[in-house]
Point group: C2
Chain length 360, copies 2
């Protein structure tokens, strides 16, 4: 653990030059076998590990891709842990987070291409931020929308490939992947209207600042237009943050409003919808008999709640995989036209809208 051995040490010990040592690692077949063995033996005995930094400096490539995502902090996650089981600490997170899926997708795809993955939740900005730290260490990276100021991205993009994930295309000369938020909600809404014959629909949106939430509402508007329902100009309610607690609150608020109760509540994400299910159960309102409830995301929790949640499933893992593909492709040819993918989503019909197995 003292002074880390370098190529020089290995070269000395093996009686060769540093160039040969380097070649042993970079292109083993170009070194005669006896020589190669001597070098490897020397390396092993010295505890030599090639310095990625030096290698990167000299070859101008790191073999690492990066991902910047928003902080994990998520009220529901930490809340889930403390269930009635007495499962006290926060290891029992039920919600498999968005980011986890993307990380997994990226890791897999990156590995296939021989890259490692550097991840960092975004902190604040500034010259010495984690983002800069990441940017300086990778060959290219993916950024979840809303996590890094676009001004920073503009600067970094001059130096290396960036792909923006999930969210509208903020910088149009960058690669970009999003999911079909509007399409998903539109299709889901039409299902409620056309297949279940519901007409009094309420939509609970998210933060005004969330492009995803806005797109989802837009899908709702489109469906209303297409099915001849009145087109609302804004969500019936907006929740922030988009947690179970807020979902519960929103559901109650909708029930307590003047006029006839809605026949369906559409939520901008699954967590809120699950919260709503709890609230409705407490109020004695039956789902889906009295009211249909839907979410968006396709989190695992939605499958195991009762009734199981009708929702729109996002291909998050695939998002990560496609991100890597895009990066690798661009690293291969920097002159490619910026791509903008829209990943399709799937409407998952389960119990909470009246589909699904009886009793589910």
């Amino acid at each position: 653990m003292s002074a880390a051995p370098t190529v020089y040490d290995v070269a000395d010990k093996a009686g060769v030059s540093i160039a040969t040592v380097s070649r042993v690692y970079r292109s083993p077949q170009s070194v005669r076998e006896p020589t190669r063995d001597r070098v490897l033996e020397a390396a092993r005995s010295l505890g030599y590990v090639p310095s990625g930094n030096a290698r990167g400096l000299a070859s101008r490539t790191t073999g690492v891709l990066g991902l910047c995502f928003p902080d994990y902090a998520d009220p529901d996650v930490d809340a889930e842990g403390a269930g009635p089981d007495g499962d006290g600490d926060d290891d029992g997170a039920v919600v498999m987070l968005y980011s986890d899926q993307i990380i997994r997708g990226m890791e897999r795809a990156a590995r296939r291409h021989g890259y490692a993955l550097l991840i960092a939740a975004s902190l604040e900005g500034g010259p010495e931020s984690l983002v800069a730290q990441v940017a300086g260490r990778v060959d290219g990276f993916a950024v979840l929308s809303q996590t890094v100021p676009t001004s920073d991205l503009e600067v970094i993009a001059q130096r290396l490939p960036i792909v923006m994930l999930a969210g509208p295309r903020e910088i149009d000369h960058l690669d970009h992947i999003e999911v079909a938020n509007a399409d998903g909600v539109r299709e889901l809404t039409r299902h409620l209207v056309e297949d279940h014959g519901l007409r009094r629909l309420a939509f609970v949106g998210g933060q005004e600042s969330s492009p995803d939430a806005r797109a989802r509402f837009r899908g709702f508007q489109e469906a209303c237009r297409e099915t001849g329902l009145p087109v609302p100009s804004a969500p019936d309610l907006r929740a922030e943050p988009m947690t179970q607690a807020e979902g519960s609150r929103a559901a109650e608020a909708l029930l307590d409003r003047e006029g006839p109760a809605p026949e369906a509540m559409l939520f901008a994400n699954d967590q809120m919808a699950v919260g709503a299910l709890h609230a409705l159960e407490r109020r004695g309102v039956r789902v889906p008999e009295d009211i249909a409830v839907t979410g968006f995301d396709g989190i695992p929790l939605g499958r195991v709640v009762r009734p199981s949640l009708t929702t729109v499933r996002q291909p998050m893992r695939r998002l990560g995989e496609e991100a890597v593909e895009l990066l690798v492709r661009r690293l291969g040819d920097r002159t490619l036209e910026p791509a903008s993918l829209m990943l399709p989503v799937t409407v998952v019909r389960r119990g909470s809208c009246g589909c699904g197995p009886a009793g589910a």
Copy 2:
């Protein structure tokens, strides 16, 4: 995206020397404000991003910690996706994997300390493996047991701090964190014997090669000894891989054996136990009335199956956090004695052993 600008370019443009540029980033307060502003402005306009490689080379530190874990491939994960819902693709993974939790724990803790996290699922060995790639790029890293050959670790450990996670201590001069596998099963077993009065217990183990599985069986043996039951010398059955499918098969095999059926089946992990629950239900065997079933791990799935699964919960996220703490501590003082932590586990009593809420 052409030639990436360097300190020299920035220095030129700002009319200072490269040392000043460097100082602006390393210790801003040591540069007078007007100068600093000129430099930052020049950097911004050029799209300058400091090269992590060069910085790392010069300063002999990377600001990155690493994690090597086994490949994600896990039959149950991909199988779960295709439920009766028609949730077709593999985005619906119900099982939040071990590795995900550890990654999350490490990422959080690393960020707190100003580090980024480099992750790589282990591939094969060899000089040019991903492991070597990781080792050369980080200040220290954590390795899940069984993912990297100890011979490689011995070599790498001469150069940087390594902490081994989950598994027995294979190299005694390295930091090491494990989970109290044996204690957990011992306590769980005693619960079954002493609180539920069960005496005919069957234990389903995992691969012979899995130290965790072995430790869990050891805990079972200890409990048998302490409660005066006959001490088995080997698990009643061994399953491999430790999946739901194998769990089902094991449960059926146990039922089909000669002699009186067991009063309890203890599985070496939750996935097998869940598989067993399914098999028992198909056979019309009631849990917990006819037989108790227990697992190990505390995966979220165990909470939502019916009956909910009595198990031993591992603090996986904390494992990641503690790993980072150990690494950071050692980076601060390399002469510290190697530490070996044993994280406590928690017996979670739920429906499948006869505890838990009625009907759960």
